[in-house]
Amino acid sequence: MFNQHSDLPFERDQSTRFLPWIVALMVFLGTLMFAAALLVSDAVNNWDTTLTGRMTIQVPEYEKSTDDTQKLAEALQATKGVSSVRIIPDAEARALLIPWLGEGVVGSGLPVPSLIDIEIVPGSKIDPVLLQERLAEIVPHVAVDDHRSWLSALITLARSAEILAFAILALIASAAVLAVIFTTRSGLAVHASVIELLHQMGARDAYIASQFQIQALMLALRGGLVGATAATIIMLFFGWIGRGIESAFLPTLSLSLMEWLLLLLVPAGAIVIAMLTARLVVLRALERMP
């Protein structure tokens, strides 16, 4: 009989018409921002595990000999904290230069140093200076390339970008809260006479607040669906555009299933924020009634 209706005629409330669009915009921006933060986080983790967990030892071309390289490899293998040692073949080392110098570098007589790649046991710390001093006893001008030294600045930058993304997300949530507060207060003013009537009939504050809460849920749900759908389309589009990009340093423009599920937290959060805000605003306003 009456369960389909709210006691309050929200459909006649003009101010509520904009809330779904505001929520849609917030969810759209929030989802993109969260996705960007996740992509940066993925890239940082990737750099952290693949690059900071290894070092490269270079033997200058003028000092390189198969014997010395082998001795260095043996010394490295015996070093505490080193999990694996791989002497990079000359052809592979030359192939690393192809992106910059072209295919001709492979058969050329260009001097290329010998490279030894070592992987470090996770959690172990090897001092690159001490290691270099020890290896220099075998080959005087050997160089230890610790990726961490230059990567740490990049990681710091990426982490800062990540924090900034979450800060913007918080600002977007705050703007959503303000929009709901404005809409709810407007609704309280528009429906003051019906609220007064319900109050007089003995309606508890929670009864009246729940009607605003359900209204906020419906509006935010509509907005959240629109915003999340639009953001998904944009992300799929950029993922499609960026599918050909392959680089160790650029973040991949694809998210895992778990990350897609995490993104659902944005519309879900917007809905919860809208409901709670509406409820608290109404309860606070009703407290002023006798």
Binding site: H5, P9, R12, L197, G202
Partner: protein
């Protein structure tokens, strides 16, 4: 049931609209509240249905001091009070049935429990054919009857009506008064604010008369019949 002790009421810094009002209504009694426009009838009714708290003095409703009762307990008291407003205050987007069912819904009743009850009451007040009509499509008299049905649907212990017969013809007015009397017979205390002297004389119940914010009483307040 209802007791006022030296009650004074003013709005803001304005003059007192009620001064030293004292009376007590016994459970199951029936009264008229009379007075010219601006005499303070609506303010007195608002104090009775707990929409206002007095500026001074004590208002006891169902044995509880309204000023001292915690705010969380007031809804329970209000649910025992039925009010017929002068301007009806029907909710326009709800049907007649939904409007009348509202106090039951507010009280937490399930609609299956009340549907037939609401329809029966609306039929009794002559609106059996307009159950699903919106208030805007009803005449003034029909709206008034919906408002009355809404006030009595949950068998309140105290019924307050502000000019309940103002928009209906004499035949319907008498019929509505009989409805109030029926309710009164079941133990409900009834206070009817009215300008209709003929009705007051015809039914002869005790009168609370307000003039310039002061109350005088005609008839015995603990009596159910005429003075």
């Amino acid at each position: 049931m209802l007791r006022f002790e030296n009650v004074g009421m003013r709005y803001g810094v304005g003059p007192e609209v009620l001064r030293d009002v004292s009376f007590a209504l016994a459970p199951g009694s029936f009264h008229f509240l009379t007075g010219s426009s601006g005499a303070g009838k609506t303010t007195l009714l608002k104090l009775m249905y707990l929409a206002l708290r007095p500026t001074r003095g004590l208002v006891h409703v169902f044995g509880q001091d309204s000023s001292m009762t915690p705010r969380t307990e007031l809804p329970d008291l209000r649910q025992k009070i039925g009010v017929v407003f002068q301007d009806f205050r029907l909710i326009n987007h709800l049907t007649a049935v939904e409007n009348v069912a509202l106090p039951l819904r507010v009280g937490g009743a399930k609609h299956v429990d009340v549907d037939s009850h609401v329809r029966e009451l609306l039929s009794w007040v002559g609106l059996g054919e307009r159950l699903d009509a919106r208030p805007s499509t009803l005449s003034g008299g029909q709206q008034q009857r919906v408002a009355i049905a809404r006030a009595v649907i949950n068998r309140p212990r105290l019924l307050l009506a502000d000019e309940p017969t103002g928009n209906v013809d004499d035949r319907i007015a008498v019929r509505l008064m009989h409805l109030f009397e029926e309710l009164n017979k079941t133990g409900t205390t009834v206070v009817i604010a009215t300008h209709n002297n003929a009705l007051v004389e015809k039914f002869g119940y005790p009168i609370l008369n307000l003039a310039d914010g002061e109350l005088t009483i005609r008839g015995k307040l603990d009596s159910k019949g005429a003075s």
